[in-house]
């Protein structure tokens, strides 16, 4: 009996010690751990990415071939548009100089690498922290300008990044509806967890077609304007409701393998 009591007491003691350590020493211990093991984490992340890519190509060969054909056609169209835009850009620059307007805002980017993903929620860990100048709220993007999320917590040597799909994460977006004229429709994007994203509060009068691109706006002050979020997967209108709601397919799903950049 005393042996059993002793065992119960030691279990309670372990619970108390771990709870106290978790409350007061979690961050310093985590920082030390990531300082020591981040090379191993980076190595496994890199290897996992390569393995994932290998299997993806193996099972998606037919789709990739079709997509390649489609992209070649798109490339030809975009090359033509690009040459038109080049002329417009030169004209824009000349006009900016003529009207004494400042240069367009350029981002100061800090490259970083993903080291792991939290098991319970849509939060990833990156290998840059407060000692690299990161603070809470800084936007995180990919090299192609796709929005990933923002810094949730900057620890000493690593940071937690809240993905835009994190449950209860919300931010203002604009949906670009291409038709005879391009219309920009404001909405509120909301994270649903498990890498899912939805939108709400979009005006009911203008129907939103599938695959319309979704960008950030500067409203709300969370993110700079014009970062690509994803595309509309499904839009629906409740006859009794005032707004359109639906699902957004976030592009970050395909971009979590590579490096990320923090906008400083």
């Amino acid at each position: 009996m005393p042996k059993k009591r002793g065992k119960i007491l030691s279990i309670i003691l372990i619970f108390c010690v771990v709870l106290l350590l978790g409350k007061f020493l979690s961050n310093p211990l985590s920082s030390v751990f990531h300082k020591i093991f981040s090379p191993a984490e980076k190595y496994f992340w890199d290897k996992g990415q390569k393995t994932g890519t290998f299997f993806f190509y193996l099972f998606q060969a037919k789709n990739i071939y079709n997509e390649n054909q489609f992209l070649k056609e798109q490339n030809a169209i975009l090359a033509r548009k690009n040459s038109e835009l080049f002329d417009l850009s030169k004209e824009n620059e000349t006009l900016r100089q003529a009207f004494n307007l400042g240069e367009k805002e350029k981002f100061n980017l800090l490259p970083s690498q993903i080291i792991s993903k939290q098991a319970t929620q849509d939060v990833i860990l990156i290998d840059k922290g407060a000692e690299d100048g990161l603070v809470e709220g800084m936007p995180v993007i990919t090299s192609s300008g796709i929005l990933i999320g923002n810094i949730k917590k900057a620890n000493k040597s690593f940071s937690e990044v809240a993905l835009i799909t994190l449950k209860d994460f919300s931010f203002d977006v604009e949906v670009n509806i291409s038709g005879e004229t391009t219309t920009e429709l404001m909405a509120l994007a909301k994270g649903d967890g498990s890498l899912d994203l939805s939108f709400d509060y979009a005006e009911k009068l203008i129907p939103i077609p599938e695959k319309s691109l979704v960008f950030t706006t500067s409203m709300g002050g969370n993110f700079p304007k014009g970062l690509l979020v994803g595309e509309i997967e499904k839009a629906q209108t409740n006859p009794a409701g005032l707004f359109q709601t639906g699902k957004i397919k976030p592009y970050l799903k395909d971009c979590l393998g590579g490096n990320v950049y923090i906008i400083q």
Partner: protein, 128 residues
């Protein structure tokens, strides 16, 4: 004695690799839902078949590893896995038959408890 030490060392190394695979390797491949489950299964089997305090220590250490790797509060997985190890040991003592069916039932019960406890401890740490 030396043999036991080597066995235990191998177990610790396996746990480390399972934690890294679940938290880093699989998510980088785009598999996000497996995360902590390889470690959970290993800890369950270890506690079901090995007696003494070492499996409990392994559970605590494995949980702490997952907490560190995923940047959670130390204790969310450490205490969950420790509790599961205790449940698995009690189940192993109480179950009369060691058939595959009873093992499966114990595994399902432990998995449900693990799922619930992880969320409970996550909530506890977010409010304290």
């Amino acid at each position: 004695m030396k043999n036991d030490f080597l066995k235990n060392l191998v177990i610790v190394i396996v746990i480390f690799f399972l934690a890294i695979i679940g938290q880093v390797f699989l998510p980088s491949m785009g598999i996000f839902f497996l995360g902590q489950w390889p470690v959970f299964i290993f800890i369950f089997i270890l506690n079901f078949f090995k007696k003494g305090n070492f499996p409990l220590f392994c559970a605590l250490m494995a949980g702490a590893l997952i907490d560190f790797i995923s940047g959670l509060h130390l204790g969310v997985f450490a205490l969950s896995l420790f509790s599961i190890a205790l449940i698995a040991q009690i189940a192993q003592q109480r179950l009369k038959s060691s058939s595959l069916a009873s093992l499966a039932v114990a595994l399902i019960v432990c998995a449900l408890c693990f799922f619930g406890l992880t969320h409970l401890f996550f909530y506890v740490f977010s409010i304290i």
